[in-house]
Symmetry: C2
Amino acid sequence: MTRIAYLGPAGTFTEAAARRFDLPDPDFVPVDSPAAALDAVRAGEAEFAVVAIENSVDGAVTSTSDALVEAGVQILAETELDIAFAIMSRRGFSLDDASSLTTHPVAYQQVKGWISEHLPGVEFVSASSNAAAARMVADGEADVAAAPERAAELFDLEIHARGVADMDSARTRFVLVGPVRVPPARTGNDRTSIVFQTPNEPGTLVAILQEFAYRGVDMSRIESRPTRQEPNTYNFFVDLVGHVDDAPVAEAMRGVYLRASWVRFLGSWPKASGALAPVDQTRIADAEAWVRAAREGQTQTEGER
Amino acid sequence: MTRIAYLGPAGTFTEAAARRFDLPDPDFVPVDSPAAALDAVRAGEAEFAVVAIENSVDGAVTSTSDALVEAGVQILAETELDIAFAIMSRRGFSLDDASSLTTHPVAYQQVKGWISEHLPGVEFVSASSNAAAARMVADGEADVAAAPERAAELFDLEIHARGVADMDSARTRFVLVGPVRVPPARTGNDRTSIVFQTPNEPGTLVAILQEFAYRGVDMSRIESRPTRQEPNTYNFFVDLVGHVDDAPVAEAMRGVYLRASWVRFLGSWPKASGALAPVDQTRIADAEAWVRAAREGQTQTEGER
């Protein structure tokens, strides 16, 4: 059995994402937060965790970012899901009678346009997950839930509308997380993630980002989060285009190590989508060959662009 | 009457912050979100809005950031509140019988250590504000609320614990927002905020941040948020140390204008705390004098550091 911890209960988008990774003989273990999913891996109670990391409408999933800071886990793979909701109630309930609607707060951001148009004036009640929202409706704690279609099956609810999403392009990226290991092999279309803190001096953040820029390593995401240890100190999360086995990424990471006050490698893994220009490795390979040639007394000691 | 829109109902920390600004003859108008508060200013329904912008534990208040992107408002002042909660219930209720606790989700992040120690196993119920949480307890929708002390008075609740906060240093920064105008005068301890989007090319974010770094303008905050217009496009929010009337800040802003695909000035205003090294204006004033001297045919045409 492969134990996979995910934000439960059954019926969440995270469960759908977890099933996408096609792990052998899976045993899906619902837990109640992204932090609990990662802690299950850290404690050896699960081989893997699946957590949402970024949403195209609401940005980074901050609870996941915060939970990744602590040692012992590494991102191994990702998948992206189109996010659209079904509007559901107990059987026989008319939407005209609805006075409350429940869903996860991030989900609420993605349907509130539809809600204000179709269910004006309903009170929003926060749920710990979309599937928990469906369960709350089944239990009579709210009239209507916005949740994945599968949750209606699981909790025997009636669906009133499908494919509800204020933005057509709403997508959430989920990552597969496991214990620290040799990263999955470079594919040429990879993502690398690191988190770092900067010394308390002006300009250090820019100096670190410059390590990527002048090696042509593209940043696909930057996010700052309070460390919660000292006021005005931040963890900076940066996603890079490329793999730690790409020489420019490795060189940039060395540069970050030298400038940051603290840094952790969060993983290199294949991207779920988007054929990107592969990282240009020629110049750095040339530079290494040139330094090696100089050390070895070879005659090939010139370099030109 | 000075109409001041804030995240209501009465009894929220935002109301306490709004009272701190000491506006003449205030009429506090509760609304149900930071966006609604800013829209009230845009529509001329309120002279000012007071909104939370950053919390030392949970980071930027993303709903406020998103609401600031649209034109028509400007940040004019700020204040910081220590955030600590009172734990309250209906009169005569014993905490031993508590099965549910309600508060705003951001507040919950700041008390959940205390909750898991003192009220293990209670269910968290999300509230739209801390004061709404107190009202929910008064209405019997939850057993216990974590809310500002004043909310207990307003809703006639009994306080069981005061000063509850997992981190001693938890503070929230609130800003006073009004229609666009000439910014408040430079004090020498100011903050400037801008939001921009970058052209879709690698390295442009770093190039923009470099505009600050090489002029010695310190960034006190950076945050990225999806634009919600196109996938993978972001609004970057940057807070700078200094005033738009400080020459290095003005120069850096000109540089950002030239590099960004879109930029909006969100305001320059006095900082609430922290005596910072004033922005060094000498070099840029010298540089301007030198260029003017050259134009005017003066003999003072040399420059040295």
